[in-house]
Each structure stands twice: as structure tokens, then as C-alpha cells.
Amino acid sequence: MRYVVTVAGREMEVVVDESGMTVDGVRVAAHLEGDHQTAAGTGVGAILTIDGRQHRLVARPGDGGRGSYDLQLDGRRLAVEALDERTRAIRAHAKAAAPTGAAPVVAPMPGLIVRVGVAVGDQVEAGQAVLVMEAMKMENELRAPGAGTVKAILVQPGVAVERGAVLVTFEAES
């Protein structure tokens, strides 16, 4: 089985067959022991051994569905996606078919909208502060995930929102 792995902004090719594993063409001896999925009250991780060297690993399913994992490895958190060729092809196909549009600003936690810093029609850059929300008595700036034009503002100051609520939508720059 041939996998394309995306981690920390990089892509690596990992091949697994009867004779073992290669990473970008280099053969490695690797195995995983212990419970790799933590559930309530159980497991503090697995031992991942690569070429004799042990790493502490805790894994949980990631946001990206099959093949996506959030790993805690040697104290670091890493979002990793390991897709076999077939799944990867299906995903690419689905993505191409989906309508394109800029990602909206979504409430990352429940809280109160304090300020909205943009108006409909404003051009924003990726990372630009769009609004301020208050949670845990601290004000947090929420930023535009990409460049675009403000299409709609769905909240106003003083409004309480739930986690995941769509706050501001954009038209992608063409």
C-alpha cells in the first residue's frame, strides 16, 4: 500500500508492503505497540518504535475523516493525514467538484461579540482581524482565513454565539 502523508506542511511518500516500510524511498523498521486510541479513562498512548528508537505517541481521530489523525508525539502536537492512493484520488475528485468559496469566519468557542471591524463589501487580507469576541473574560480577535470581499455579516456587537456559528462570510478573490 502506498500512502501520501501530509504533516507540518510537507508531503512524504510512505510505502508499506510485506517486506516492511519505506519513507521517501528510505527503508525504516517501524512498529506500533499498545492502545493507540485513547478513550475515557483509558490509555495514555502507545510506543512507536522507528529504527530501534522509541517515541511516545497518543493519537486521536482528526477532523479530516479517514486517514486524518491528531498526534501527540514526544510532547508535540501534529495534525497528520495519511491517504492511500485510492482515497486520495477520490478526495481530489470530490474537491474539484465542490463549489469554491472563501472560508467564513466561524466562532471557535461560545462567546459574546464585542466589535465588528469590517463592513459588507470591504476587501480583507488573509489574517486580517475581522471581529472581536469575548470568552473567559478575555477579548479575542478573530481573523479572516483568506483574502476576499466581505459578503455578509451575520452578527452584531452584544450578540452571544455558539461554537461553530458562522459570523462573517466572504467572496473569494477571483
Binding site: 500500500m1 479513562g41 512507536l48 511516545r56 493519537a59 510532547g75
Partner: protein, 534 residues
């Protein structure tokens, strides 16, 4: 130093007048206080909101009482109700911890007037020190150096702009009733001052119910060094060393140490004397902390006095051998301090505040249920925690989950110890600040101690943006593929067995459903596949 503390023991029992303490707090500090009570043979009463039913601090105590809904203003902040509960349960003292009602003069007074012992300074000392404006006035009178600024709340933006021009930019706007960085703004140019004042006032109003804000000269590049004091009711007031708290984000302390790399024995003595002078001027009794800015020339400026136990008190405990929370109880019970001078710090202690904030996403608060928890252990490692498996972390309270504290002979050894403790620590269910702390321990500038209170803000993007070590990235790729293979084989097995249910059923020999359940397994997989494709 240990013998000095216990030397007093044979005389009148220190804690005779305190038999039962109501702990008016939650989380790790409530657990810490309950433990101190237990060690002194004092009973403890926990109070909890509906959101904290069964919380670690509830189970740490001997008794517990539900005091209201999750909202702090209807539970932990209801001083009148807490006093009522204390009397009902025949507690004879109240320990406020930090935050909540700990620095409210009216509450300290009400506790005393109800005939209960307040485990903290007298209400008058809180009044003298509790407001930063009042504390400045007092410090100036006591001859303690302060940063140039006003001692009265700002009237409006015009006055703020006039004073800022007089001190020279940058200036700092600060909530008079504040703490924890709330209601604070640095202003670097005249154009920003009106907006900054407005938002500082709003935040102060929301956090403290008081929108008074004052202004001061902003000294760039200083360290935050604070002096812990202990004062008994018999006139003994002792400085027990400094804590270095310069690693701050948005004026919130993230990492604290004792001692400070910037403090020599001579400077420790001078700062200690200044802190004792300020505390004595306020008629201070019990544990307290004087916060100073320390500049590169060794000049220090009094900032404020925290009239309570501090979050970061463990680092002082580890290098002095004193149990500060026990001393709070013993002093409140009328015991005399058995020493007039604190020992020089022994070894080095570092504390990391473990919060439910996600450093990978701008430290946004994270909520959820703790599903797995593995704590580091071994020599010199201390965990003061308020979470367990099953704890729900919500948005009602402060995001601090626990404090991880290490002690080692040298600073270098303490950093190495903290590093491996952080690698052992596993918290699943919410995002935490752990990786931030690990990156800090690996940072060469931090390792040299070359920091000031602005250092972290400037450093954060590089610190958090730096890629993980190559070996870790490769290991993650290998791990993910092994997981994917395992999942794939698991799915194949599920197909073969028709899933767990099917397996159970086929285990019963001759079960008529065995063959059809296998078919159902295939059918389910096909259905799942088709759903995923859409």
C-alpha cells in the same frame, strides 16, 4: 530552615482556634488549600457551583456544599451566601484562595464581622493595597520607588492624552481594581489613546464591576520580579525571596521561577526591605506579594501588592522549604513566625501554567471533557491540578487547568526536568498550552534567561511558527501510516466478521443469523463508502 518552622510546634497548638475552614474557591487552589488543612488536622468545606459537581476540589475536602449555578456571580462571588454557608456548617474560618473574592475588602470585613476568621490580611490592609491607586500613594509615602504615573482614575480621553504627553509615549492604561491583565492597554501614539481607554474601561467594567482606569509611564524592557512576604500578627514581617515572572502574554503570567537570574543576594535584600516597608506601612498580616518592575540597571519600581496567595506560590515553597498555605492558616490562627529572616533560595524552581488554551490558534480557549490524563512523576516534579479524567472544561471560569512545577539543583537542571515532565504529560479532550511550554524550554534565549516582560509577545510568532524537529515530523508520518494500516485492517476484519455484533452472534454456533450478518457487514461498508464519496 525546616527546623526553624517546626521549632515552634511544641508550644501552644498553632491551629487551636481553627477547626474547620470553608474554602471559597474552586480548581487547583481549592485542592491545594484542602490538602494544607488536612496536613494540619483542620477539616475543610468545599463549595461548588452546579458546573463543578464532583470536581476534584469537592472530593479533596471533608464536606461540600452546592452554592448555586455555574455563573460565578451567582455562586463563587456570592460572599453573603458563602458566609451563611460557613456558619451553617460551623466553619470557623474562610480561605478565599486567589481570584474571586480574595481581594475584596468588603468580604474580608463581612467575614470578620460574622465572627469568622479571615485567612488573609485585615480588611484595612486590603483597602490600603487592594486598589493600585491607593497602593501607589502608600508606597510613595513609605519611600518605595514607583513608576511615574497618576494616582487618580482618569476622567476622560482628553486628560489621558495630556498626561501621556507629559510622561512621554508609550504609556500604560491600567484598571484600578484590576489583576490578571484585564483592563490593561499599552498606548504608543496619541491617535490610539481614546480607543484604548474605552476598551480598557469596558474590560475593567466587565471583569471587576469598576471601570476606573489610571495611566502611567510604560518602562520598556523591564522584568517582572515579585517579593513574597509573610507577616504575623505580632509584628514580624519577613521577605521570603523573589519570583521571576517575566514570561507573560497579554500581561498574563505563563511561566514563573524562583529565584530570578537577575537578582543577586544584595539586590534580593534591597527588594525584600522595600517590600517589607510597603507591607508594614499597610499594616499587613498573612501572606502577600509585592510586585516590582526591575530594569537592566538593577533599579526597581513598586507596582502593586497582591493581598492573597499567588498562583505561583509553589516555586517559592520549593526553594525555601516553607509551606506558604500552611503558614497562611497558622498566621490566621495567631501563631508567631519562628524566624525573622528567610533562608537564601536552595536550588531552582520553575512553574508552567497549564491552561485550556490552544497555542496553535492564538491561544483561543478550548472547551471539552478530559478523556485521558497521564501525569508526569519522579524526583522534583510537582503537579497542582484541578482536573481529572471526566472533568468538563467550560467557559465559565479561568482557563487554568493545573500548574506543573519542578525543582532541581540548578536552573539548567530545572529546565531539563520541566522538559521531560512536559513530554510525559498527556491531557486529552481539550487543547492545552503544553506544547507552548515545551517550545519555551527548548528556546536558547529562555535558557539563557535573557528575557523581559515584552520578550514573549515579540518572540511568540517565531516560537510557535518554528517547525517541529525533523525526527518528530518523520516519526509522525510513520506513526500515521501505521495507524492507517491498523484502521484499514480493522475495517477489513469488521467486514469479515460483520462487525462486533455479528461476531458475537456468529460465536453462538448454528445461529441462523450468522451468514446474513456477514452480508450486512458488507452492505454497511458499501453504504459507508458511498456516503463518504458524497
Amino acid at each position: 530552615m525546616h527546623s526553624a518552622v517546626s521549632a515552634k510546634k511544641p508550644t501552644a497548638p498553632a491551629t487551636r482556634s481553627i477547626r474547620r475552614v470553608l474554602i471559597a474557591n474552586r480548581g487547583e487552589i481549592a485542592v491545594r488549600i484542602a490538602r494544607a488543612c488536612r496536613e494540619l488536622g483542620i477539616e475543610s468545606v468545599a463549595v461548588y457551583s452546579a458546573a463543578d459537581a464532583g470536581a476534584p476540589h469537592v472530593r479533596a475536602a471533608d464536606r461540600s456544599v452546592l452554592i448555586g449555578p455555574a455563573l460565578a456571580s451567582q455562586s463563587y462571588l456570592r460572599g453573603d451566601h458563602l458566609i451563611e454557608v460557613a456558619k451553617q456548617l460551623e466553619a470557623d474560618a474562610i480561605h478565599p484562595g486567589y481570584g474571586f473574592l480574595s481581594e475584596r475588602e468588603w468580604f474580608a470585613r463581612a467575614v470578620r464581622e460574622a465572627g469568622l476568621i479571615w485567612i488573609g490580611p485585615p480588611a484595612e490592609a486590603i483597602a490600603a493595597m487592594g486598589s493600585k491607586t491607593a497602593a501607589r500613594t502608600l508606597a510613595i509615602a513609605a519611600g518605595t520607588p514607583v513608576v511615574p504615573g497618576t494616582t487618580e482614575a482618569l476622567r476622560d480621553a482628553t486628560q489621558a492624552a495630556e498626561l501621556a504627553a507629559q510622561f512621554g509615549y508609550p504609556v500604560l492604561l491600567k484598571a484600578a481594581a484590576g489583576g490578571g491583565g484585564k483592563g490593561m492597554r499599552v498606548v504608543r501614539a496619541p491617535a490610539e489613546i481614546a480607543g484604548a481607554l474605552e476598551s480598557a474601561k469596558r474590560e475593567a467594567q466587565n471583569a471587576f464591576g469598576d471601570d476606573a482606569v489610571y495611566i502611567e509611564k510604560y518602562i520598556e524592557g523591564p522584568r517582572h520580579v515579585e517579593i513574597q512576604i509573610l507577616a504575623d500578627a505580632h509584628g514580624t514581617c519577613v521577605a521570603v525571596g523573589e519570583r521571576e515572572c517575566s514570561i507573560q502574554r497579554r500581561h498574563q503570567k505563563m511561566i514563573e521561577e524562583a529565584p530570578s537570574v537577575a537578582v543577586s543576594p544584595e539586590l534580593r535584600k534591597r527588594m525584600g526591605d522595600a517590600a517589607v516597608a510597603a507591607a508594614k506601612a499597610a499594616g499587613y498580616v498573612n501572606a502577600g506579594t509585592c510586585e516590582f518592575l526591575l530594569d537592566a540597571h538593577g533599579d526597581f519600581y513598586f507596582l502593586e501588592m497582591n493581598t492573597r496567595i499567588q498562583v505561583e506560590h509553589p516555586v517559592t515553597e520549593l526553594v525555601t522549604g516553607l509551606d506558604l498555605v500552611q503558614w497562611q492558616l497558622r498566621i490566621a490562627a495567631g501563631e508567631q513566625l519562628p524566624f525573622t529572616q528567610a533562608p537564601e533560595p536552595r536550588g531552582w524552581a520553575i512553574e508552567c501554567r497549564i491552561t485550556s488554551e490552544d497555542p496553535a490558534h492564538g491561544f483561543l480557549p478550548s472547551t471539552g471533557r478530559i478523556t485521558a490524563l497521564h501525569l508526569p512523576s519522579g524526583p522534583g516534579i510537582r503537579w497542582d491540578g484541578g482536573i481529572e479524567v471526566g472533568t468538563t472544561v467550560g467557559l465559565s471560569y479561568d482557563p487554568m487547568l493545573a500548574k506543573l512545577i519542578v525543582h532541581a539543583p540548578t536552573r539548567e537542571a530545572a529546565i531539563a526536568r520541566m522538559r521531560h515532565a512536559l513530554q510525559e504529560l498527556v491531557i486529552e479532550g481539550v487543547e492545552t498550552s503544553c506544547e507552548f511550554h515545551l517550545r519555551m524550554m527548548d528556546d536558547p534565549e529562555y535558557q539563557r534567561g535573557a528575557v523581559d516582560i515584552q520578550w514573549l509577545e515579540a518572540k511568540l510568532p517565531a516560537l510557535l511558527g518554528a517547525p517541529a524537529p525533523e525526527e518528530t515530523v518523520r516519526a509522525a508520518a510513520v506513526g500515521a501510516v501505521l495507524l492507517a494500516e491498523r484502521d484499514r485492517q480493522g475495517r477489513a476484519r469488521q467486514v469479515g466478521n460483520g462487525g462486533a455484533k455479528g461476531a458475537a452472534r456468529s460465536a453462538a454456533a448454528d445461529a441462523p443469523g450468522a451468514a446474513s450478518s456477514e452480508e450486512r457487514g458488507w452492505a454497511r461498508l458499501a453504504r459507508e463508502e458511498s456516503l463518504r464519496r458524497r
